[in-house]
């Protein structure tokens, strides 16, 4: 049983964009100000191209390990998959901290204890131990949930925005470049698809359709960014949790209370699954490299989740430092693995060739 194309398209169009609606808008506004759409568009276009490459690879119907082994040999394949799994675990860290901060700040009305978010790692460990094909069923449901959440928030928010605040385009100059460099940590969707190679029911044409669906999701992200900046303008940098902030100015909210939270919860649920996805990819890479022994999936998923939990506990009050290291000092790791690697993987040989 594999992930069907419909399920894949749901992921690309609806689920993947949800991870870019929490901290990323404020981070983009910090660097690029009213030009925040430009760095986001550059990232999304690059990722759409990388998704196209990754899906072209998936169209071969073989796992990444098989293709690597056929090209470079089994040892090199193991080394690459181990390194790639480390990258995925590393890439998982920022979304995890982001989701943790989001849950603690938005769902709790005072600062909760450090352990409040810990049950997430039970969930991540469970999900990562499941076979990767189970993702398809998850995406079937999450696609619809994300679409409803996104539409709800956008409907409640769009009327409160002053879109003239986005003018003049290009005024930020170097800020646009800085915006691109400082936000790489949120753009690694193509890398998430590589462990799925061999588990996706991909045929000829899946690649460009997948890229097209990714661009549809990207358009939704850009629209949300425009609404976000239109509402908060110069104070956008201050709004760390964008999806929970934009819809509160809807006139009905002042009378009925935060009814918009229904949609925020829906998107929060989607982001929860999305945050666990790199962990799942990481486990899958290691399983491809070292085989699927009896309890290895469970050991790996629990082990990786425990390590991430420990790191989250250690970095509880150091989010700013972590963000500046991941998306500042070490930003180059993301384009390397999420753009260059999918493109270079197209040069891999087929195992049966």
């Amino acid at each position: 049983m594999t992930v069907s194309r419909r399920q894949l398209y749901f992921f690309l169009a609806c689920v993947a964009p949800a991870g870019k609606l929490i901290l990323l808008p404020a981070r983009l506004a910090e660097s690029a100000k009213n030009d925040l759409l430009l760095p986001a568009a550059i990232h999304l276009a690059l990722q759409a191209a990388a998704v196209f490459c990754a899906l072209l690879l998936c169209e071969r119907g073989e796992t990444l390990h098989d293709m690597l082994a056929a090209t470079f040999g089994r040892v090199a394949a193991k080394i690459f998959l181990t390194v790639f799994s480390v990258f995925l675990a590393y890439a998982a860290f920022l979304p995890l901290l982001e989701e943790k901060l989001f849950v603690q700040s938005v769902y709790y009305d005072t600062l909760p204890s450090i352990t409040s978010f810990a049950p997430f790692f039970l969930f991540a460990a469970y999900l990562a131990a499941k076979p990767i094909r189970a993702l398809g069923r998850v995406w079937d449901i999450l696609g619809i949930v994300a679409a409803i959440g996104y539409a709800g928030i956008l409907i409640l928010s769009a009327g409160s925005a002053d879109y003239a605040a986005l003018a003049p385009a290009g005024g930020s100059g170097m800020g646009i470049l800085l915006g691109v460099l400082r936000t790489w940590g949120w753009f690694f969707d193509a890398a998430l698809l590589l462990p799925l190679a061999g588990h996706i029911e991909a045929k000829k044409g899946t690649a460009w359709r997948g890229a097209l669906f990714y661009l549809v999701g990207s358009a939704a992200v850009l629209l949300f960014l425009a609404v976000f900046y239109g509402i908060f303008q110069e104070t956008a940098t201050n709004q760390l949790f964008a999806i929970a902030a934009t819809s509160k100015y809807f006139s009905g909210v002042s009378m009925l209370g935060r009814v918009d939270y229904a949609f925020v919860f829906l998107l929060g649920l989607v982001v929860l699954f999305l945050s666990a996805l790199p962990v799942q990819g990481c486990v899958e890479c290691l399983l491809q490299a070292y085989g699927r022994e009896h309890h290895l999936p469970a050991f790996l998923s629990v082990g990786i989740s425990a390590v991430l939990l420990a790191l989250v506990l250690v970095c509880d009050f150091r989010f700013g430092d972590v963000m500046s290291v991941i998306s500042g000092t070490l930003f180059w790791i993301f384009p390397l693995f999420s753009v260059l690697v999918p493109a270079l993987c197209l040069a891999l040989r087929r195992s049966h060739a």
Binding site: Q104, S105, Y108, D109, T110, L111, P112, S113, T115, S116, A118, P119, F121, L122, A125, A164, A165, A167, P168, G171, F232, Q233, E234, T235, N238, L240, F241, K248, Y249, S254, H294, H295, A298, F299, V302, A306
Partner: protein
């Protein structure tokens, strides 16, 4: 032994799950007991010699009598070097955890606005639990004293003041409410300007005092009952108060922004005063920045009907807006607009965010004219006054 190792992952998983679940539920979901929470309804900030004074109006249960209803409040004052320091002191003094999630009003004292007010507002602006849609205002005298007054019309002074900033009040053109978010956008934007309603208090006069008290308003205190007026508007530039618009000038700003619906003002019908109601309003402040000079024009379009005219007993239909009244209205409104603009020019406050509009339309022209814009004199001031047919 082999069986033990085979079942080890599941045992480990259950153990970790149990530990995490225990830590999750042992925290009461991280919530604070409501009995130990100070629900802050409003905050008043004043400048002192050593820093700040924060007066928080805290909602307290009104008692077990269900028929009483409403909201009782106490005011707690704390002095510190920063606003955050003051909030911590309130916690120390009362043992209640201050909770800003229901704080809908921040009042700044007259002394506080002589300095850059963002020093006080930053704490609220960066607080995740504080709604940035809360109203901001400046008051005559000390904000702490205003917050502590007894309202003649509501249980708490903050609730009475909040009523002044309703949508209906805004549409009347007499009040220009401003939220924390809008003030911050104006401050951090290229215009570096903003406005806030200016609150004055008046002693409640008339015979309704007793009946209101018996209905529950202002009970439990011996203080004099007050009513609040916010028809003036404080002007801000770079975070400091730089001027004050009176009630007519405030109406002129509202008319220029096109906000007014069913607002009223007075004009003359010969030697008799008449009150006119605005049933439709459009306003425009336009800037023509094409070189070699920048030109400003102001335009107000209002459609009026007559209210409160002194008519003879046999002329009940005398609510027509005559040409004389229209002429008087035009002169009156032009006068309000002109007087308002002179004050803006004198203060340097870019109340209509013209610099921002210029920057958005052309950064090059913005570079050329940004320093001149707040001090421009309008080339045309047009008041187009029509009668409702």
């Amino acid at each position: 032994m082999r069986n033990f190792f085979r079942s080890l992952p599941m045992k480990l998983y259950i153990l970790i799950a149990a530990v995490l679940a225990f830590s999750f539920f042992s925290n009461d979901f991280g919530l604070v007991d409501i009995q130990k929470t100070a629900v802050i309804l409003a905050a008043g900030i004043d400048r002192t010699e050593n820093g700040f004074s924060l007066t928080a109006q805290i909602a307290v249960p009104k008692g077990s009598d269900r028929t009483a209803g409403g909201t009782s409040s106490v005011e707690i004052e704390a002095e510190g070097e920063t606003v955050s320091d003051c909030v911590s002191l309130i916690f120390s003094k009362t043992g209640w955890v201050p909770k800003l999630v229901f704080c809908d009003l921040i009042v700044l004292g007259e002394d506080a606005v002589k300095e850059d007010v963002i020093a006080y507002l930053n704490y609220f602006l960066r607080n995740d639990y504080m709604p940035d849609s809360c109203m901001l205002a400046v008051c005559e005298g000390k904000a702490g004293e205003l917050i502590s007054t007894v309202s003649a019309i509501d249980d708490a002074s903050s609730l009475a003041i909040s009523k002044l900033f309703s949508d209906a009040a805004k549409k009347s053109g007499k009040v220009m409410p401003c939220t924390l978010k809008d003030f911050a956008i104006g401050y951090y934007g290229v215009s570096e300007s903003g406005y806030l309603p200016f609150i004055r208090t008046e002693r409640q006069k008339g015979g309704q005092n007793d009946s209101l008290q018996s209905a529950g308003a202002g009970t439990g205190t011996d203080g004099e009952q007050k009513i609040y007026i916010a028809e003036e508007t404080a002007l801000f530039s770079k975070g400091k108060m730089v001027g004050l618009l009176d009630r007519n000038e405030t109406l002129a700003v509202s008319l220029l922004k096109g906000n007014v619906f069913s607002g009223t003002f007075n004009a003359m019908d010969g030697d008799k005063p008449v009150t006119l109601s605005v049933v439709n309003n459009r306003g425009k402040v336009s800037l023509d920045s094409r070189a070699p000079s920048v030109k400003l024009s102001l335009s107000v379009v209002v459609r009026l009907c007559c209210r409160g005219v002194t008519a003879a007993i046999d002329d009940i239909a005398s609510d027509r807006v005559t040409d004389d009244i229209l002429k008087s209205c035009k002169e009156t409104l032009s006068g309000y607009v002109g007087s308002m603009w002179e004050k803006l020019k004198g203060s340097g406050c870019d109340l209509f965010f013209l610099r921002r509009a210029l920057y958005r339309s052309s950064p090059k022209r913005y570079g050329m004219w940004k320093d001149d814009v707040p001090f421009l004199s309008p080339v045309t001031v047009e008041a187009n006054v029509r009668s409702m047919k």
